[in-house]
């Protein structure tokens, strides 16, 4: 058995029992699926009228426009969040207390507030309290940047802190000051380590950009909502749009695993832990447990 150290090679009796349970589980799953399918069919959810709008080229274009807007907001936020994240991480690693303090506060606050709250703050408070009207695009992008910038700051900081302390000491020993040490020695190494984490953050961005419909940004979820209202086929539209997201994010998550240097498939697929989509420390903690397990072998 490849799957776990949790059970050993089954003997004849255990093998029979596993076969029995397997058959039982298959039957149970089949019954649940069959019931769901029958129920869906009885309520006309498989009617061509509900699915055919989704093959309409105009609707597909409409949804693709939404997908493009989703990707656009996610890409712009990623770039801005990277700038903000690296800046805050450097600030938080600084030796000067007056630089470090504010950076700590910004990172902690930005990470503790829900993205939707920041989005609504930009959407409602900016026009009313400061007379600044942001477009829907910038409302979404800035809210996503705030949270993800703080998250990336933590990823970068963790990346720098995991480097052996000899790196910094050696740089100081050859006469580099704090900033050249950071820029020439520590950051380049940290950034390479954190590439998989960054791709994971892109997935978080793509998923969170679906909040854009609340502030009127025409991303994929918003377009899906309009389409589902028009054709009265919510289940069909949302399931298809959900699958688009799954496809996109699985592809990104595969890339993230691939660049993390761990050959995809080297570990049994059943065992690899997906950390994508978790908060940075949670992902780091799980990766550490995973490393422990591999070393323990």
């Amino acid at each position: 058995m490849t799957t776990a150290n949790l059970f050993d090679q089954p003997g004849p009796k255990a093998a029979r029992r596993i076969t029995l349970f397997t058959i039982g589980a298959v039957v149970l799953i089949a019954i649940v699926v069959a019931y769901a399918v029958m129920e869906l069919a009885a309520r006309g959810q498989f009617d061509a009228a509900r699915w055919s709008p989704l093959t309409n080229p105009k609707l597909i274009l409409f949804l693709l426009q939404g997908l493009l807007n989703t990707l656009g907001a996610a890409a712009v936020s990623l770039v801005l969040a990277l700038v903000m994240g690296i800046g805050l991480a450097i600030g938080r690693l600084s030796d000067v207390r007056f630089v470090r303090g504010p950076c700590v506060v910004i990172v902690e606050l930005a990470r503790a507030a829900p993205v939707l709250l920041s989005m609504l703050f930009l959407f409602l408070a900016f026009p009313l309290a400061f007379h600044i009207d942001l477009s829907a695009f910038w409302t979404v992008v800035l809210a996503l940047t705030l949270y993800n910038g703080a998250a990336i700051a933590e990823i970068v900081r963790a990346g720098v802190l995991t480097l052996p302390s000899g790196q910094q000491e050696a740089a100081y020993a050859i006469g580099l000051r704090w900033w050249p040490t950071m820029r020439l020695v520590l950051l380049p190494q940290a950034l390479r380590v954190m590439l998989p984490g960054l791709i994971g953050q892109l997935i978080v961005l793509i998923k969170d950009s679906a909040l854009g419909f609340i502030v009127g940004y025409q991303e994929l979820a918003a377009q899906a909502q309009s389409a589902a209202l028009l054709f009265n086929n919510p289940l069909q539209t949302y399931v298809v749009v959900g699958l688009v997201f799954v496809l996109l994010n699985s592809a990104l998550s595969w890339v993230s695993t691939y660049v993390s240097g761990r050959q995809v498939g080297a570990d049994s697929r059943d065992q690899a832990i997906t950390t994508v989509g978790l908060e940075p420390e949670a992902a780091a903690a799980l990766r550490a447990l995973d490393v422990e397990r591999r070393m323990g072998r």
């Binding site: 058995m1 799957t3 776990a4 150290n5 949790l6 059970f7 050993d8 596993i18 589980a25 799953i29 309520r43 959810q45 902690e108 503790a112 507030a113 829900p114 939707l116 709250l117 609504l120 703050f121 409602l124 408070a125 009313l128 997935i203 998923k207 969170d208 679906a210 909040l211 419909f213 609340i214 979820a221 899906a224 919510p234 289940l235 949302y238 399931v239 749009v241 959900g242 997201f245 799954v246 994010n249 699985s250 998550s253 059943d270 832990i273 997906t274 950390t275 994508v276 989509g277 978790l278 908060e279 420390e281 949670a282 992902a283 903690a285 799980l286 447990l289 995973d290 422990e292 323990g296």
Partner: protein, 215 residues
Amino acid sequence: MNEIIEVLPTLLRSFGTTLELALLSTIASLLVGTVVAIMRVAPIPPLRWAGTAYVHFVRNTPITIIFFIIVFGLPQVGVIFSFFWFAVLVLTLYTGTFVAETVRAGIQAIPAGQIEAARSIGLSFTQVIRYVVLPQALRNVVPPLATVLIALLKNTSVASAFGVAEAINSMTNLVNVHSTVVLGIMGATGFAYISLALLLGRAFAWLERTVAIVR
């Protein structure tokens, strides 16, 4: 200032709904997540496949889309709950995937010798899980579980767009009525979320120290 005092009871009440939503979903998603994690390490292949499929599909879908599917899709097939219970269902399904992966990482980090020892004294798979693996695995993953559950608290805000009168929902309503104290209302809501999230962080740090196994 008077207006702030006027809206305060509404804000507090709605934050109570947020807490209720978060608490119910926390309990349910811990249960779902642990069960799915066990399914994914079980010797029975269909259970593993089912667990893997659930985790893969749900965690890669935005929570907004899951809300859409559940809140607008389920009534189409005659499944109707109140918005609050729909929100609990969505938050549980979504957070359950993260809990499942976290717990599974904890399970897999248990050294093989522990399980071999447990097997050799005659414990069955379920007994190994119940008495040897889970008590250690869950302790191992308290810090990552804490961040998963804090993320759940923040995700309850999405329910505001799907008919649940929680903190963000009533904040939006109040802002439209009391437009002179926008910053006060939003500041108070933000303060509540941020302090609760930071407080939870502290509480979990304490929990970690308390349940840690001293070797």
